[in-house]
């Protein structure tokens, strides 16, 4: 026969177990909640990890344009990027060309704004002239490569709807697979699938499909390196699966948070790019 006291003790113990059971349920649900990112959120984090890390960024970029017969053309430039605000916000880009010889010393500047057209300027050294250039077609090729301007500096997330399709491993890394479909009809692709690394949110692969649903372009992140603690895609390629033309890009000498001044992104330095930033 249990005493009144024992019964009370048992009741409280049962209550505690019950209470703990609820805690476990909640605890179990929490990480699930965190993991169940929407396609939108995955792409937002991916944009931040891929295009916005650091306050600023510099890389010597070597692009190889390779046709289906294996003939190569090389485009070499220094790219400088500075974020104006938070990830997803305004950015400024400055590019200085080393190669090919006929565009040596040419510089190129972009002010990138979310949800509206960029401002672009070009300096043509042959006639020593700075020109503003029309920039409404972000899907056009960047210096003749298979990358578009948007592939280089990012596509507005609001231009597409993003749906989390599935999760899948690529090269041993867990990825989200997100399907992005353009809201408007101006894009040159029908939809794209992006494999986003769950650990660092870098896009490891992207398949673009044309408007008929055929595979069109394939992006792969071929090497990810740790640059000052920031995972960085230092080798990437884009292949046009319909023409066989491809572009391989290597980032040499990359660095973050270098203290690039705002004044760099002005006509003054477009005309006279400072050695310390472009080498």
């Amino acid at each position: 026969m249990k005493t009144k006291f024992q019964r009370r003790l048992m009741r409280e113990a049962r209550y505690a177990v019950t209470k703990r059971w609820w805690i476990w349920i909640i605890a179990g649900l929490l990480p699930l909640q965190a993991l169940a990112l929407s396609g939108e959120e995955v792409m937002k984090k991916s944009q931040a990890a891929f295009l916005y890390p650091g306050k600023d960024f510099k890389a010597r970029v070597v692009m190889k344009l390779i046709n289906k017969d294996g003939q190569e053309r090389v485009r070499e430039l220094t790219m400088l990027r500075k974020n104006v605000g938070e990830a997803g916000g305004e950015q400024k880009y400055f590019m200085y060309f080393f190669q090919p010889a006929d565009v040596k010393d040419m510089t190129f500047m972009t002010y990138k704004y979310p949800a509206r057209d960029d401002d672009r300027w070009m300096f043509i050294p042959a006639i020593n002239m700075v020109k503003r250039i029309a920039a409404q077609d972000k899907r056009s090729s960047f210096v003749g490569s298979d990358f578009t301007y948007e592939d280089v500096s990012g596509r507005d997330l609001e231009d597409d709807t993003h749906a989390l399709e599935r999760e899948e491993k690529i090269g041993g890394r867990d990825c989200y697979v997100v399907k992005s479909t353009p809201k408007g009809s101006d894009a040159d692709f029908g939809y794209k699938l992006t494999w986003v690394d769950k650990a660092n949110f870098l896009p490891l692969k992207e398949e673009q499909y044309d408007k008929k649903g055929a595979r069109y372009k394939l992006f792969t992140a071929d090497e990810v390196a740790d640059v000052q603690g920031i995972p960085t895609v230092v080798k990437r390629s884009m292949k046009n699966l319909q023409t066989g033309h491809r572009t391989e890009v290597a980032y040499l000498k990359s660095g973050y948070n270098l203290g690039i001044e705002d004044s760099l992104f002005t006509e003054r330095f477009l005309r006279q790019p400072p050695r310390k930033w472009i080498d």
């Binding site: 010889a101 006639i127 920039a135 409404q136 077609d137 210096v143 002005t266 006509e267």
Partner: protein, 406 residues
């Protein structure tokens, strides 16, 4: 050859300067332009036939930079050695100001082959004879001071000596001459230099600039010693001041450029001297769009308005062609890239609605490799016999440029 020797001396001396980073580059080029309409006044069938080698040295150390660009060239149409120092200057860059001293190319304004505020010397012959675009501009020997305080940017250009624009050679081009019988001719260049100031800044997302210039017309005016029985014609460069402004920025889907300038003909403010150009207002509106991938279209409207038209008409000697008060010109340019931007088709057309003057320049340019490119193009001219392009109507030509860069 003295210039070449000086260039060589510079090229040899500079690398020895301590701790400088030195880069050498250059090109070899062949350039031919063949007549398609008629022979030259000198009987030849080519406007241009030349081999050229350029050597460029770019050295920098600390805040200093030296750039020297020298050309060795041989002309097969009688000029022979055409070697020249294209550019040669020293830069000093501080945080809020900089300085460039020496021969340098300066381009102001926004026009595409239309010049409103670009008061610096040009080589019109180069354009009409199918030479690469960079030869359209001639360097000036000047000191350029840049100052960059917070509120605006300033560029002051001081040239101790005047440098004129190069006009087409009368042996190669059929130029309009109101007094062809007068054989004795002389050219008087200004004994002074000139000065220009450009102030520019961003205004609400637009690039805005003001331009001031005090100097001389870059192309000569002619004055006969007598109107009734001329024995000699003097060419001279009238005094000129220019006050201008420009603005450019995004408008709709493209880029809008607006430019205006007042040309104050200081030597003849009343407009009574027929030999000196009347004071003038120049207006330019340009719009550029990119309607499809690798395709750019550009349109310009350009006007020249004579200031003292009544005085001009009254002073014009009989037999001289009379210009209209307003001169309206429209231009269009199409640029289309193909084959991963290695093949470029461009076409430029200009039409003056006031006198029918027109000029068309189609060009196809291909980069065979990253180091070798070639361009095939043509220049077609037409209009009244005294118009800027009309006088060249027998000078239509097709040209070829081939360049190896290293």
């Amino acid at each position: 050859m003295a210039r070449f020797a000086a260039l060589c001396a510079v090229l040899l001396l500079v690398p020895t300067a301590a701790r400088a980073e030195v880069a050498l580059s250059g090109f070899l080029q062949q350039n031919t332009a063949a007549n398609t309409a008629a022979a030259n006044p000198d009987g030849r069938h080519t406007k241009w036939l030349e081999e050229r080698a350029q050597l460029k040295l770019d050295a920098s150390g600390g805040a200093w930079r030296l750039l020297a660009k020298g050309d060795l060239a041989y002309d097969h149409l009688g000029r022979q050695d055409q070697s020249e120092l294209r550019e040669g200057y020293v830069d000093y860059t501080a945080s809020r100001w900089d300085l460039r001293a020496g021969r340098q190319v300066i381009t102001w304004g926004l026009g595409d082959l239309v010049f409103v505020n670009d008061v610096f010397p040009k080589d019109h012959e180069a354009l009409f004879a199918g030479r690469p675009l960079e030869y359209l501009k001639r360097g000036v020997d000047a000191v350029k001071l840049g100052a960059y305080p917070e509120f605006a940017n300033f560029e002051l250009v001081l040239s101790p000596g005047f440098r004129e624009s190069r006009i087409p050679d009368a042996r190669r081009f059929h130029l309009y001459d109101p007094m062809p019988a007068v054989a004795k001719r002389e050219t008087v260049k200004p004994g002074q230099g000139d000065v220009g100031l450009r102030i520019y800044r961003d205004v609400a997302g637009y690039d805005a600039a003001l331009y001031l210039y005090r100097g001389f017309q870059r192309t000569p005016s002619m004055r006969p010693d007598s109107m009734t029985a001329p024995t000699k014609i003097s060419y001279f460069y009238p005094q000129l001041s220019v006050y201008g402004a420009s603005v450019s920025g995004r408008a709709g889907d493209g880029v809008l450029s607006l430019e205006a300038a007042y040309y104050d003909s200081r030597q003849d403010r009343s407009g009574n001297d027929f030999a000196v150009p009347n004071s003038q207002t120049r207006l330019l509106a340009g719009y550029q769009i990119q309607p499809a991938e690798d395709l750019t279209l550009g349109f310009q409207y350009y006007a020249e308005i004579m200031q003292d038209y009544g005085a001009y008409v009254a002073a014009l000697p009989p037999g001289f062609p009379m210009e209209k008060r307003w001169s309206h010109t429209v231009t269009a340019r199409l640029t289309q890239f193909f084959r991963h931007q290695t093949l470029r088709l461009s076409a430029y057309a200009s039409y003056n609605a006031s006198n029918g003057d027109h000029y068309v320049n189609p060009e196809l340019r291909y980069s065979f490799t990253d180091k070798v490119w070639g361009a095939l193009g043509a220049n077609f001219f037409g209009g009244k016999p005294w118009g800027q392009f009309g006088q060249l109507s027998r000078d239509d030509n097709a040209y070829l440029q081939v360049r190896y860069e290293f």
